[in-house]
Every structure is written in structure tokens, then in C-alpha cells.
Symmetry: C2
Subunit: 439 residues, 2 copies
Amino acid sequence: MADTETTTESVPEPAPDEATNSPAPSRRSLLGWGGAGLALGAAVAGGAVALARDGDDEAVPAGEAGAAVTFHGRHQAGIATAVQDRLHFAAFDVKTADRAEFVQLLKDWTKAAARMTAGHEVGEGAYGSLAEAPPDDTGEALGLKPSRLTLTIGFGPSLFEKFGLEDRRPEALVDLPKFPGDNLDKARSGGDLCIQACADDPQVAVHAIRNLARIGFGKVAIRWSQLGFGKTSSTTPDAQTPRNMMGFKDGTRNIAGTDAPRLTRHVWVDETDTDANSAWMTGGSYLVARRIRMNIETWDRTSLQEQEDVFGRDKGEGAPVGKAKERDEPFLKAMKPDAHVRLAHPDSNGGATILRRGYSFTDGTDGLGRLDAGLFFLAYQRDVRKGFIPVQRSLSEQNDALNEYIQHVGSAVFAIPPGVRDKGDWWGRALFAKSPEEA
Amino acid sequence: MADTETTTESVPEPAPDEATNSPAPSRRSLLGWGGAGLALGAAVAGGAVALARDGDDEAVPAGEAGAAVTFHGRHQAGIATAVQDRLHFAAFDVKTADRAEFVQLLKDWTKAAARMTAGHEVGEGAYGSLAEAPPDDTGEALGLKPSRLTLTIGFGPSLFEKFGLEDRRPEALVDLPKFPGDNLDKARSGGDLCIQACADDPQVAVHAIRNLARIGFGKVAIRWSQLGFGKTSSTTPDAQTPRNMMGFKDGTRNIAGTDAPRLTRHVWVDETDTDANSAWMTGGSYLVARRIRMNIETWDRTSLQEQEDVFGRDKGEGAPVGKAKERDEPFLKAMKPDAHVRLAHPDSNGGATILRRGYSFTDGTDGLGRLDAGLFFLAYQRDVRKGFIPVQRSLSEQNDALNEYIQHVGSAVFAIPPGVRDKGDWWGRALFAKSPEEA
């Protein structure tokens, strides 16, 4: 693969005034089909239409489902971005101990991610210039739109040990404690790093993870992965709150992707959070991922009253107990003491607030014919110790009524580095670059 | 549950002149939210907008993604219907030996299927009149559009034995032979019956299977299930052919849902195919389901030339070897003798033609970090002995070049009864009704 200098020339970048909400061209129309000798230049000439300048602290419109989300910016896309319809999440183990080889992979990944999120193929595409070589791109996303694909990388605690970077590990990246009720499967937990792919078309998200895994062959291997088929949270203000697999709206009061003050307060790491060793995280965030299995069959045999008591909301409108509308301010004392909304509310947790971005999953059926379904919970926060941990401690130790119907079966935590600022930058550069000049 | 007479009154049915391509109302707008006392009558008053009169041998337009597909008709919907974006397929084992109990389940299922495909909730909904009772509907599809949901039932060979109906088993419903290279997992094969749920929104398809499984609790249990995230075949003439996980277009010459002569010739069972015992199948079809695992990682390291030789098409356009356009007539002799298109072509198999309706799947990764992905192949045909069997025999015995990269790991075959003709009819009535008058 080429070095970053070449990257600068080969990744198409929209002019600022193109960053509007225009319909996106399809991958096919960008590329055309001139024959086997198709040059990369043709793809570059097509350009890319960007939807939302996600990296900046500006409003992020929900936009058209087929459009492209800008890859470069102060923050990574896929956090404050209006939640896309589908998810493919992969946790990787790093197989190489060679720092230079790993750095090259991060550069190659960055280049591929910039291309795919813009709606282009990886490298010279699925239909490259050499018939004798495997194509650079696996091809199943040809002809599909960019579909608001975002690719978000995260670094797990074990990565810092692997490359002798223990002193650069931020204090906020704690190992999660064991919570009461946890029943974690090691094969669905942890990981040296993660990539979250979100898109409005699942084939686009799956294609992205597959091609990144392929680029990483021999250097990283997928440890576990998760497909999500339905978003359970919205970061778009006033949008309809999606329903989870229990049929309820949850996360009504989620942080909106357009709410810069709340994002600054609860999601983005800033200079006041870091020291010299962790300064590389400025502009980043922390991600907690939990696979939460729902005991669907038990839940489905529970009365409506019990279901509503458990959540502290009515099922139809989603209004908090005693209120008329979903977005009415909850009156916590009207709820049962163990109601989910009451125990999860910031007022019950010293103000702890997280940005939720979870997806419903259904992975077929288990050996007993029960649906293996639930919530793949994804939460972004400025400090795990002030976000997920106090909330989950409250839910688990105070016996959230929901605990009878759910079980946490997978868990991971990742440091999400800041965005890739420009074409010369790459995922994790501030952490892995050897000298300040290089960074 | 109520008997079929009540069904007649409670299932809303569009007037014929409403069967147009109008935007569909959302489930929420159909129902409204008046409070806990919501009566079924309110849902009925809302009515349903039907998209395509699928059951008839008329043209079936692709239509608007959110609309409803008519449930009643001569044939079941979900076969000639323009292929929807997502699949949830479930095979069930029957747990009851009581024919009357099973017949009641078929009636209850039919009623629920008619309601869900029209965009309504099951029974009295997720927000029924009794807070003390579990809601009739699990609720996660509330507020979602009908999303062109179709529900298609099939009966497996073992069902006939279970209810002493061996003499009613059609000759065309053969047990599939073992093909060379088959590596079938029993836990992913067979089943007394199946339900195929297709929709443009996966949450709508998953909701439908979950609610049918719930209605069947104690009488049937899910044996295996499969989610499909991307269609791999189109039944819409001139639509872009979707790409499979190998990045290729396959099934270009699929039978169009609008091509009545080919449907009549290759898909629908008619009077000439049946005798007195199998007359109940007139208007039906036969379904073969195969889970085909792709060795994605091996394929991705194969040269473009080899990939194109394997399929007998070029990767970009999808044109047959030596031709310019995807839909050009293939010249089989120009292809390698073991090319997939050549061996699967009707001219190589005595004219055998099937209607393909398969979906790509990705079920995470296997224990070796490889993507557990491939094609969930679904093929409809008038007679399995003249459809899937000769084609698959040709592919497996003549060493289809694709066999190096794929493996069949699951298999099932089902008789698909004709459509539910009207509100008094139910799935499988002609097979299970005890007397001709009852049928």
C-alpha cells in the first residue's frame, strides 16, 4: 500500500461548498465501467457529495439516507452523527507485535475508510487494472450509494500493553468492574481495538468491515462482531424515538447530535481532561459496548401493567408515569422505586449522562428455540467513570426492575481517538507517532 | 382466539379500487392513541392501502417501500412479489399431535398474518384493553409502516407423517437427495413447516416471526431461523441485479414477478400436476431453502480473472463471457466447462428453471475469526424434481468451479400451499379440512 503522501492525492475530498444535502451519486455512477483498465483518476474525477460536516461542532442534519457523511474533522463521525439504520461492529485482536507494521495498517485503514465513507471502492476497486491479481475491493457494494456510512475506530485497554504504551493509557479508560448480574461471555467481550460501521444499508456496513478485516489480514483478526438491524436510540431532536425489542421507547432524553453544549459537557474529551501523556485523546470520547440479551419469551408473557411499571413509561406514547407525552419531564417519585427510567435518570446518578447509540439484534434462536435477541448497547461519554459506570452500578445494585428480563452477556470498553483532521492524518497518529514532530 | 367467522369481521380488507400505489399509513396513524381502552374497531376503521394484487396473475409493480402487499389471493404473496430488502425465515417443529389444535393454530396464524401484512398489530395490539393481561402484540413494530411485509407458509415432508396425511403428500415434494459436497448441519436443516417473512424494514419482518412464534407457543417451536440482510435476486424486470457476497451479479435471468407465462410454466402448480389427493396444492408452489456458506477469505485472495472464470461473467457489468451487457444472451461454449453460469443455465439442464429469491447473510464470525457469511438460497418451482434437483445435480456432479469457494450447510424443502382466497379461508385449509364441504 502507498504511504500517506500518496493518500493525500488519491482520496477525493469535497470542496467546502459541496458539503450540502444533495442526492449522492451511486458508487457505480461515480466509477463508470470503461473496462478492465479503469484508472483511479476516474473515481477521483467523480468527487463525492458530503452530507454533514460531522467533525465540527455544528448542527448535524439527519439528511438523505443515501448521502455521504464527511470523514475528516475534529471528532470521528459515527458518534454525534444522526443514527443510521444498521450496524456492523467488529472487535479485533492484534496479531502483530511490530509497531511499524501496525502503524502502516492504521494508515492503510484510514485511507480505505475515507474512500468507503465517500462511496468509493477500496484501492483500485473490485475491477482493478490487473486481471492476474485479487481485486482491491470485494465488490458487493458496487452500485450502492454511500448510505451515510461512518467508520469509527476505538482502542481497547489491552492495546496499550501490546505496544508498550501503558503510560499513554488515559485514566478515564478504566477496565469495567464486574456488575451484579453480569454473565459475560469472553468470546463476546474485550478486544484490542474496534471498528463501528453504521450505514443506512446493511450491505454497505458489512462491506466496510469485511474490507477492513481483509486489509488487516495477518496483522489483526476479528475477535467478535455484531450486526444490529434496528436503531434503538435517536440523536436527532424531535425525531420519533425508535422502539426496542421489548416494544418500548427508551432513551427519549438522549443527547442530540446537534446539541453542542451537551456534547461538550458529556461526550467529547477536552484539554481539561488530559495531561501530557493523554493529550492525544483531546477531541475523542470513550465507548462502552454491552451485548444485552433479552428474555423475550418471558417478557412477552408479562402483563401490560407490569411492563409499564418496569420501564416507568406507558407503552403506547412512551410518556413517563403520570405524564401525557413522551418528552414530558419525568416525575421520578411517581414511578416505582425500581423503575428503569427512574434508576437510569441523571438525577439518580449525580448527573451522569451518556450518548446512546445502540441497536437491536436478533442472532437466530438458541438451543431451546428461544429468540437470541436483545440490545447491543453502545454508549459514548467523556469519562467512563462518570458516565456508564455510575449508571450501570445504579441499575444493577438497586435492582432495576428490568434486570429480571435482561442479562448482560458481552462487554467491552474502548478509547475513541479524535477525528482524522485532514488527508495527511491517520487513525491514532497522535498516540502512535514516535515524536511530537511526527504527530 | 376467535373462530374464523370473527376473523371475517375483524380483518380489514381494502376495496378493490384501493389497490393502488398510494403511500401507506404508518401503523401508528392507523391506530391512533386514545388511551388504554383502544378498541379493535378503531383499527378496522383505519383500513389498509394495498399495493399489489399479488395473488392474481397480474403485473406486480415494485411499488413504494412502505406500502402494504395484499394478503389474500390465488397464490401466496412473497413468491412473485417484487423482492423486499430483508428476510426473516423460520422453520418450526410441530409439538402437538392434536390435529384440531394445530388447525386452530393455522387459523390464528392466518388471522394474525392478514393483520400484520396490512400494517396492523396482532389482536388487540401492544396496548390492549386489559392492563392485567400480556398485550396481544409485542409492540416493536408500532409506528412502522407495513413495509411490504409478506408472510408465506410452507409444509415440510415430516408434517404429513405427523398428522397421518401421508396419502396427501404430493409426489413433487420429494426428500432432496444428498448431493456431492453437501455438509449439512441437522440443526440448520428440515422442519415440519416454515414461514418466510420478507419486508423492506427488518424490524417488521422480525416482529412478524416473533409474534407468530408467540401465538404458536406450546404447539410449535422454532427449529432454526435465518436473517437475510441483502437480497441477491430480483423479480422486477430491468431492475439492477443485486450483488452477492462474492461481489458478483448472479441470477440475471431470474423469472420476473410480472412474467405470467414463465410463472405458469415454472412456478405455480396447476390442475395438470395434481390428482385427487394432491389437488389441495393447485395454485401453490415448492420451496427449496439452502444455507450456502461462502469461503469469503479464500475468495477474496483469488485473482479477478479466476473469479470471472468461475462465474462466467465479468465482475463489473455482469456480462456473460464475450458479451458486452449483463442481459445479453450467454454464449455458453465461450465459457469454461465448469463455469457457474454455464452449468446452471437451463440449456444445460433440460430447461429446468427456478424462481430465485435468496438473501445474503452474515452471522458474525466463526471460531477462527472468519466471516460466517454467504447466501441463504431460496428457490420456488412447480416441481422440485424438475427444478432445483437437476440444476443442483449438474452443479455438484460436474464440479461447478464455484464449489471450491462455497459449501451447502443447511437444507430444507417445503410444499407451499396456494393463497388464502378470502377472509373465511385459512393457511392449509384444503389440506387439513376434514371433508370436501369443509374445504
